[in-house]
């Protein structure tokens, strides 16, 4: 059954070792340049244009199927959908009335504290492409790229809350790293009492944790965590997740806090890219030291908060 049929049975192709070393050195060189010097950004962007048709080709059967199903759905189903959406819109508008007043108030209060950074202003909707990246990392490919003004480090939300941030930008696509990726951390704040800390991903979708909470800290199951806006990476005040479990071991100085993300990390299709508002203070001027309240113990690594 298993047979190789070629007549090419010479002992070894000439120059195998030489070519192997050559290619290996080339690959090593590429890696070093890519990692250390970041010179390859432009090349990578150009190559991503080449990859785009392949990605679209792979994703399109699935999108086509979704489109077909939608266009074949019955009138009744569409009507039911429309009624439901109208209902949702009404509720949303009702909430928005209150929200606008609150937002104005927040802006005023923030202005008093000389801290207007981090209120998101401009949005762009992107769609998750049905393309599989590495199975062991929490990343997705989105169909908006440098062409649409997306930049590395940009905050990405879904309808539930914070989804992640842009890790790499191509011309037409971008790679978004989820807040549940093991290499991701996000500065957060307990919505109930303002306790500041950092939420770190675990590599498991639907699961993040707070590793820097002391056992004495006031945090309980059910607390809502929102972005604190520190570090300048994420706009302030967007929901990140809900505390699902707090384990305090008296022998340890730090508590084990489990958080379930507010965003639908494994299901979201539409994502929102956020640009900070034009009037906001540039992120660089907002150092954690200037806004740290004296009462809260500073979380370790506060400076590298927004780093991925």
């Amino acid at each position: 059954m298993v047979a190789f049929r070629s007549s090419d049975t010479s002992a070894r192709p000439t120059g195998l070792l030489l070519r192997c070393i050559l290619f290996a050195l080339l690959a090593l060189g590429l890696m070093i340049f890519d990692k250390r010097y970041d010179h390859l950004g432009k090349i990578r962007r150009a190559l991503s244009i080449v990859a785009y048709p392949a990605q679209v080709a792979v994703a399109s059967p699935f999108e086509g199927w979704a489109w077909l199903r939608e266009s074949l759905s019955t009138r009744e189903a569409l009507r039911a959908d429309k009624a439901r959406l109208e209902e949702e819109l009404r509720v949303a508008q009702f909430r928005l009335q209150r929200f606008e007043a609150l937002e104005a108030e927040t802006r005023r209060l923030r202005a008093l504290r000389d801290n207007t950074a981090g209120v998101g202003a401009r949005f762009l909707v992107g769609n998750v492409m049905d393309v599989d990246l590495d199975a062991f990392r929490e990343r997705v490919l989105v169909d908006k790229g440098a062409h649409d003004g997306v930049y590395v480090g940009q905050a990405v939300l879904d309808s539930g809350g914070v989804f992640g941030q842009v890790a790499r930008v191509g011309e037409m696509t971008s790679e978004v790293i989820l807040i549940s990726d093991a290499a991701h951390a996000i500065p957060v704040q307990d919505n109930r009492n303002g306790l500041r800390t950092i939420a770190v991903g675990t590599g498991d979708v639907g699961h993040i944790k707070l590793p820097y909470i002391s056992t004495a800290a006031d945090i309980v199951k059910g607390d809502l965590l929102v972005t604190s806006g520190l570090g300048g990476g994420f706009p302030a005040g967007y929901p990140v997740g809900m505390v699902t479990e707090v384990k305090r071991d008296p022998a340890q100085s730090l508590a084990d806090v489990e958080v379930s993300p507010a965003a639908a990390l494994d299901r979201a299709q539409e994502l929102l890219f956020v640009w900070p508002s034009a009037g906001a203070a540039p992120a660089a001027t907002l150092t954690p030291a200037t806004t740290k309240p004296a009462t809260t113990p500073p979380p370790p690594h506060a400076g590298e908060a927004a780093k991925k």
């Binding site: 047979a3 190789f4 002992a11 070894r12 192709p13 195998l16 290996a24 690959a27 890519d34 991503s48």
Partner: protein, 158 residues
């Protein structure tokens, strides 16, 4: 000699393209970890079957394509694939006379080496993958190997 090699490049490129597509087709999360590295297997096949037709170049180009599509450090998959394809080429005369079982075991070793290089570069560049899932791929790949060789050799026989 020259002519037969020229003819062989077409099935080579085609099979590599199909394998590349299979590598990024979305699968449900449950099956995703069990996806064999089709492209790697195809590269191994061609480096054993006809190394003169450019098995190593194919390995390098396929590796770069994987790097771009998977968003890895540029050169990571290229390095791993080149080294392992060279090893496969080195072993190819022995592989031909091996039984199916020994062939699969050799492929298992090659795939493990490939995963190890990826794992090592992941660690060196500061995003280690800690899950054990990736070590499953060599086992799956070795299991798939006989079927893949059967299909590919029948295809380019015609």
């Amino acid at each position: 000699m020259m002519r037969t090699e020229r003819v062989r490049r077409l099935p080579m490129a085609l099979s590599a393209l199909v394998a590349l597509t299979l590598a990024i087709v979305p699968l449900p999360d449950v099956i995703d970890a069990f996806r064999p590295d089709f492209l790697v297997l195809v590269v191994f096949y061609w480096s054993i079957e006809s190394p003169r037709a450019g098995g190593l170049t194919l390995a390098f180009v396929a590796g770069i394509a994987l790097d771009i599509l998977k968003g890895a450090v540029l050169g990571q998959h290229a390095l791993a694939l080149t080294l392992m394809a060279a090893w496969a080429t080195h072993l190819r005369l022995r592989l031909r006379v091996f039984s199916v079982l020994s062939q699969s075991l050799t492929i298992f070793a090659l795939l493990t080496g490939y995963q190890f290089i990826l794992f090592w570069i992941d660690g060196a560049t500061g995003n280690p993958v800690t899950s054990f899932g990736r070590w499953l791929a060599p086992v799956i790949g070795a299991l798939v190997w006989p079927a893949l060789v059967g299909t590919l050799s029948r295809l380019h026989e015609r």
